[in-house]
C-alpha cells in the first residue's frame, strides 16, 4: 500500500516512460477514432484509447476509477456501441468527403485554436506543486473506501440523483426503441382475400375515362357505350343530378363512325377503282 501511495504522490521515471509510450498510443487511438471510415474501426480504436486511459487512472492513484473505466466503459458502453454499429450495418463505410461548405476548414481552425488556447491556459496556470493522493487514499484505509465515504456522505444526494437518471435513461431507451404492435400483422393471403371479397373488384373508372365530357355530373361510359351510373359521386346520384348524355353521345359516336366509314369507304372505293 505504501509503495502505491508513494507512486501516487510523486512521479517516477517509470511513470514517465509509461506516460510517453501509452500517451502516444492514446493519441493515435483518438485520431483513428476520428479518421477511420468504418464505424467498427472507430469503436475499436476508441476502446484502445479508453484502456490506455484506464492505465493512466491507475497511475494517478485512482484505482477504483481505473477498474470501473475498464469494466463499465470499455466493457459495457463500447459493447453497446458495437451492438448499435452491427444494427446499423457493419459494412456501412462513411464517406469522409465533406458536404458542408467550409465546415472542415472551420472545424480544423476552431480545433487548432481551441487546442492552442487550452494548452496555453494549462501552461499559464501555476501547477508546479502537487500534493499527491497518499494521505487522501490512506485516510479511510484505501482508495475505494475513501471514495465510498465521500459518495455516501458528502455526495449522497448527487448519487441518488444519478441513480434516478440511470433509471430514466433506461426507461427512455426502452420507450424510444420499442415498437408497439397491438394486433396481429395481416398475412399476404388475408390481404388478397380481402381485396377480392370487397364490393367492387376493380377501381371505378373516373369520370371522363370513357366519356366525352369531363364534367363530374356526367357518368363515364362502359365499353359498350352505356353510362355507368356508379362513376358519378354519391351526392349527385342521391340528388338525381346526373346528366344522361348516353344517347346523345352514342348518336354522336354513331355519326362519327358513319362519317369515318363514308370517308374510308370512299377511299376504299377509289382504291378499288385504282386497282
Amino acid at each position: 500500500m505504501t509503495a502505491l501511495a508513494a507512486a501516487a504522490s510523486q512521479t517516477s521515471t517509470g511513470e514517465a516512460v509509461q506516460f510517453w509510450v501509452l500517451g502516444i498510443v492514446a493519441v493515435i487511438g483518438a485520431l483513428s477514432t476520428v479518421l477511420m471510415k468504418k464505424a467498427v474501426h472507430s469503436a475499436l480504436s476508441l476502446a484502445g484509447t479508453m484502456i490506455v486511459l484506464a492505465v493512466f487512472y491507475l497511475a494517478n492513484g485512482a484505482y477504483f476509477l481505473g477498474i470501473v473505466q475498464i469494466v463499465v466503459y470499455t466493457g459495457a458502453i463500447m459493447m453497446l456501441f458495437l451492438f448499435v454499429v452491427m444494427l446499423v450495418g457493419v459494412t456501412a463505410a462513411d464517406s469522409l468527403k465533406e458536404t458542408l461548405k467550409g465546415q472542415r476548414w472551420l472545424a480544423a481552425g476552431c480545433g487548432l485554436g481551441f487546442g492552442v488556447l487550452l494548452i496555453a491556459g494549462i501552461g499559464n496556470a501555476s501547477l508546479n506543486s502537487f500534493n499527491g493522493l497518499g494521505t487522501a487514499n490512506t485516510e479511510h484505509g484505501g482508495n475505494v473506501e475513501g471514495l465510498a465515504s465521500l459518495i455516501f456522505t458528502k455526495y449522497v444526494f448527487a448519487f441518488e440523483i444519478t441513480g434516478a437518471l440511470l433509471i430514466t435513461a433506461t426507461v427512455g431507451a426502452m420507450v424510444l426503441t420499442h415498437r408497439e404492435r397491438t394486433e396481429r400483422a395481416r398475412t399476404q393471403r388475408e390481404m388478397s382475400e380481402q381485396r377480392v371479397r370487397g364490393k367492387q373488384l376493380p377501381p371505378l373508372p373516373a369520370p371522363g375515362v370513357y366519356a366525352r365530357h369531363n364534367a363530374v355530373d356526367i357518368p363515364g361510359l362502359l365499353p359498350d357505350g352505356t353510362p355507368a351510373g356508379l362513376t358519378v359521386m354519391q351526392t349527385l346520384r342521391n340528388r338525381g343530378q346526373i346528366r344522361d348524355v348516353s344517347n346523345e353521345s352514342l348518336d354522336r359516336l354513331k355519326a362519327l363512325e358513319q362519317r369515318s366509314e363514308e370517308r374510308l369507304g370512299r377511299g376504299n372505293d377509289e382504291e378499288e377503282v385504282a386497282k
Partner: protein, 631 residues
C-alpha cells in the same frame, strides 16, 4: 344708434343662413325673404344716415364693440364696428344697389330651380360686404374681404354644371387669394409694427415708424386691392367672372365688391400719404389698368365682357385717383358711387337684353333692339351717356374731377397721368359707343340659338325694369347732386382729408379737352360701327385687336408660366416624393431585407454547422477569459 350697425349686418346674414339651411320648403318664398332682408338692411342704413346727418361733422363716427374675437396674449382682435362717413357712403351704395338687384333677380332668375339658393348667396354677399366696410380693424375687414370672395365664388359658379362657370369661379377665388395674401401680410406687418391692427391706432401712428415699413405695408395693401379690384397684374379673373348670372355681374363685379380695393386704399390713406413710393405704385397700377381695361373693352364682342373691361378701366380711374393722395380720395369715392349706379344699370340692361335674346351674349348677333326693348334702351342709353361723361350726367362730374386731379398732381408725373386719363376717356367713349351701336342700332343680326329657337326680343318684366329705371335716375342725377356745392367733398372730408392741387391748366381747359376727346371717341366708333353694317362673324382684326380679345395675352402668360409651370412642378414633386423621399425609406427597408436574407443562410439546419459556431464561441470565450486574466 350704435346697435343698429350690428343689425345692419345681421339682417342679410340671417337671410343667408335661413335660405341656405332652410331646404326646399322655402323655395316659394325664399326670394321674397331675401329681398325683404336686403331692404331692411337698406332701411337701417338710411336711418343711420339720417341720424348721422343730424350730427356735427366731427362726431359723426359711430363705434360698436360686439365682443372680443381672438384674445391672445399681446394680440387683441375684436368684432367691432366703426361707421363713419366713408363707411356710410358704402353702406348706402351696397344696400341700395343691392336691394334693387335683389328685386331685379326675382324676375331674372324666375325660371331657375335654385333661385332660393341664389338669394341666399346674394344675402351672404351683402352681409360680407357690409362687414368689410363697417369693420373697425383690418382683421375684421379681412373677414369681410374673404367673405365677399366666397360669395363671389359661389355666385360666379352658380351654374356649376357648366365647366366654364366652375373654372371661372375657381380662378376668381384663386387670384383673389393671391391678393388676400397681400392683405394678411400687411396685417402681420401692422401687428409687428404697431402692435395692433385697428384702424384708429394704426392710422394715427403712421408718423412713428419708418417710411420703409409703411411702404411695405402700402405695397401689400395694394396687392390686396389689385386682387379684389381686378387691377393689373391680378385682373385676369374679372372677364371670366362674367360666367355668373348677370345680376351678380352687376352687383358684385361692377358696383360693389370690385370697388373694395378702392375702399381699402382710401381707408388706409394715412399709410399711403406717408409712403410716397407705395403711392406711386398705386398710381401706376391705376393708370395701367385704366388703359388695359379700356383696350380690352374695345375688342370684346361679348357684351358682358366688354362691360367687364370697362369696369376694370373705371376702377383704374378710381385707383389712380386714390393714388394721388388727398387730392383724389374724395373723387375716387365719388366716381365709385356714380360708377356703381351707371355700371349696375348697364349690366342690368345687358341682362335684360340677354333675357330677351335667349341668353345670347355676342353683340354681333344683336342689332336694332331699340324698338323692341324701349325701356331697356332708354335706361341703358342713359347709363351709356353717364359713363362716357356726357355733360351734366353723373360720369361727367366724377370723371372730370379725377382728370383734373391727375393734372393737379403736378410736374411731369401730372402731365403723364392726366394724358393717360384723357386717353382713357376717349377710349371709353369709343367702346361704349360701340356697345351701344352694336346692340341697339343698325341691322338685326339675330341668329337662332343652339336649339334652333329664333329670338323674339321683348321687354323684360316690371321687376326687372323698375330697378333699371331707378338706377338710370341715379346715373343721371347723382353726379350733379354730389358736385353742386361740393356736397360730397364736404361730407367725406373729415374722414379722408382733402387738399387742392395746383393744376397746371385750368379746370375749364380740362373739361374742354375731355369734351374733345369724347367727341373723337364717339366719332371713331360711329365711323366704324354706325355707318356701315357690322359682320356677324368678327373679322380677324389687327394684332392689337386679337391680343385684346385674348385679354392682352394675360391668360396665355398665366397659362404658360403659372399653370403649366405649376403642373410640372407638382408632377415632379410627386415623383420626387415617391422615388426620393419614399425611396430612401424603402431602400433602407430593402437593404435590411437583403441583409437578413444573407444572414438567414447561416441557419442552414445542419447541426454540425451550429456545433462549429458553438465551438468557435467557446474558443472565443476561453480566449477572452485568458486575456482578462492576463490583463
Amino acid at each position: 344708434m350704435e346697435n343698429l350697425i350690428a343689425l345692419l349686418v345681421a339682417a342679410p346674414l340671417l337671410g343667408a343662413a335661413v335660405l341656405l339651411c332652410g331646404g326646399r320648403r322655402l323655395d316659394r318664398a325664399g326670394h321674397w325673404l331675401g329681398t325683404l332682408l336686403a331692404a331692411v338692411s337698406f332701411v337701417i342704413g338710411v336711418v343711420l344716415f339720417l341720424d348721422m346727418l343730424g350730427k356735427g361733422a366731427e362726431d359723426r363716427t359711430l363705434h360698436q364693440k360686439l365682443f372680443s374675437w381672438i384674445p391672445v396674449e399681446g394680440f387683441q382682435a375684436d368684432v367691432a364696428f366703426q361707421l363713419d362717413q366713408l363707411s356710410m357712403t358704402f353702406v348706402l351704395l351696397i344696400t341700395g344697389v343691392g336691394t334693387l338687384i335683389h328685386i331685379y333677380s326675382i324676375g331674372y332668375m324666375e325660371h331657375d330651380e335654385r333661385r332660393r339658393r341664389f338669394f341666399g348667396y346674394l344675402n351672404l354677399f351683402l352681409a360680407a360686404m357690409l362687414i368689410l366696410v363697417v369693420a373697425d380693424n383690418y382683421l375684421l375687414l379681412y373677414v369681410g374681404w374673404e367673405g365677399v370672395g366666397l360669395a363671389s365664388y359661389l355666385l360666379i359658379g352658380f351654374w356649376q354644371h357648366k365647366p366654364s362657370a366652375a373654372t371661372a369661379a375657381k380662378k376668381a377665388f384663386l387670384v383673389n387669394r393671391v391678393g388676400d395674401m397681400g392683405l394678411s401680410i400687411a396685417i402681420m406687418l401692422m401687428f409687428t409694427t404697431f402692435g395692433t391692427f385697428a384702424f384708429g391706432p394704426v392710422l394715427a401712428a403712421t408718423g412713428e415708424t419708418s417710411e420703409g415699413k409703411l411702404t411695405a405695408i402700402g405695397l401689400m395693401l395694394l396687392l390686396a386691392a389689385c386682387g379684389k379690384s381686378a387691377q393689373v397684374p391680378l385682373q385676369s379673373w374679372l372677364g371670366d367672372a362674367m360666367e355668373g348670372p348677370t345680376p351678380v355681374s352687376a352687383l358684385i363685379h361692377a358696383a360693389t365688391m370690385v370697388t373694395a380695393g378702392v375702399y381699402l386704399i382710401v381707408r388706409s390713406g394715412a399709410i399711403f400719404n406717408a409712403a410716397p413710393d407705395a403711392q406711386l405704385a398705386v398710381v401706376v397700377v391705376g393708370a395701367v389698368t385704366l388703359l388695359f381695361g379700356a383696350i380690352v373693352g374695345c375688342a370684346k364682342d361679348d357684351i358682358k365682357k366688354a362691360l367687364a373691361g370697362s369696369t376694370m378701366s373705371q376702377i383704374g380711374y378710381m385707383i389712380l385717383a386714390a393714388g394721388l393722395g388727398p387730392i383724389g380720395y374724395v373723387f375716387a369715392i365719388m366716381h365709385l358711387v356714380t360708377h356703381g349706379f351707371f355700371k349696375a344699370g348697364l349690366f342690368l340692361g345687358a341682362g335684360s337684353v340677354m333675357h330677351g335674346m335667349n341668353d345670347e351674349v355676342d353683340m354681333r348677333k344683336f342689332g336694332g333692339l331699340r324698338k323692341y326693348m324701349p325701356v331697356t334702351f332708354i335706361t341703358f342709353g342713359l347709363g351709356y351717356l353717364a359713363i362716357i361723361g356726357f355733360p351734366g350726367l353723373s360720369g361727367f362730374f366724377s370723371k372730370d374731377k379725377i382728370i383734373e386731379a391727375a393734372f393737379a398732381k403736378g410736374g411731369t408725373e401730372g402731365w403723364i397721368l392726366g394724358s393717360v386719363a384723357l386717353l382713357g376717356a376717349a377710349i371709353t367713349a369709343f367702346y361704349m359707343t360701340r356697345v351701344m351701336l352694336l346692340t341697339f342700332f343698325g341691322e338685326k343680326r339675330w341668329q337662332p340659338d343652339a336649339e334652333g329657337h329664333q329670338p323674339h326680343p321683348h321687354e323684360s318684366p316690371k321687376s326687372m325694369t323698375i330697378p333699371m329705371i331707378v338706377l338710370a335716375f341715379g346715373s343721371v342725377f347723382a353726379g350733379g347732386f354730389f358736385s353742386i356745392g361740393d356736397r360730397f367733398l364736404n361730407w367725406l372730408e373729415p374722414v379722408t382729408g382733402h387738399s387742392h392741387g395746383h393744376a397746371p391748366i385750368g379746370a375749364a381747359t380740362v373739361t374742354a379737352a375731355t369734351m374733345v376727346v369724347l367727341v373723337i371717341g364717339v366719332a371713331i366708333a360711329w365711323a366704324m360701327y354706325g355707318r356701315k353694317p357690322v359682320p356677324v362673324v368678327a373679322p380677324r382684326g389687327s394684332l392689337l385687336t386679337r391680343a385684346a380679345r385674348r385679354d392682352l395675352l394675360q391668360d396665355d402668360f398665366n397659362h404658360v408660366v403659372l399653370v403649366r409651370g405649376g403642373e410640372h412642378l407638382t408632377r415632379s414633386l410627386v415623383y420626387v416624393d415617391h422615388t426620393l423621399v419614399d425611396g430612401v425609406v424603402n431602400g433602407t427597408a430593402a437593404s435590411m431585407g437583403g441583409l437578413s436574407g444573407r444572414l438567414r443562410k447561416l441557419q442552414n439546419g445542419y447541426a454540425r454547422s451550429y456545433a462549429v459556431s458553438m465551438f468557435g464561441g467557446t474558443a472565443v470565450l476561453i480566449a477572452a477569459t485568458l486575456l482578462m486574466r492576463a490583463v
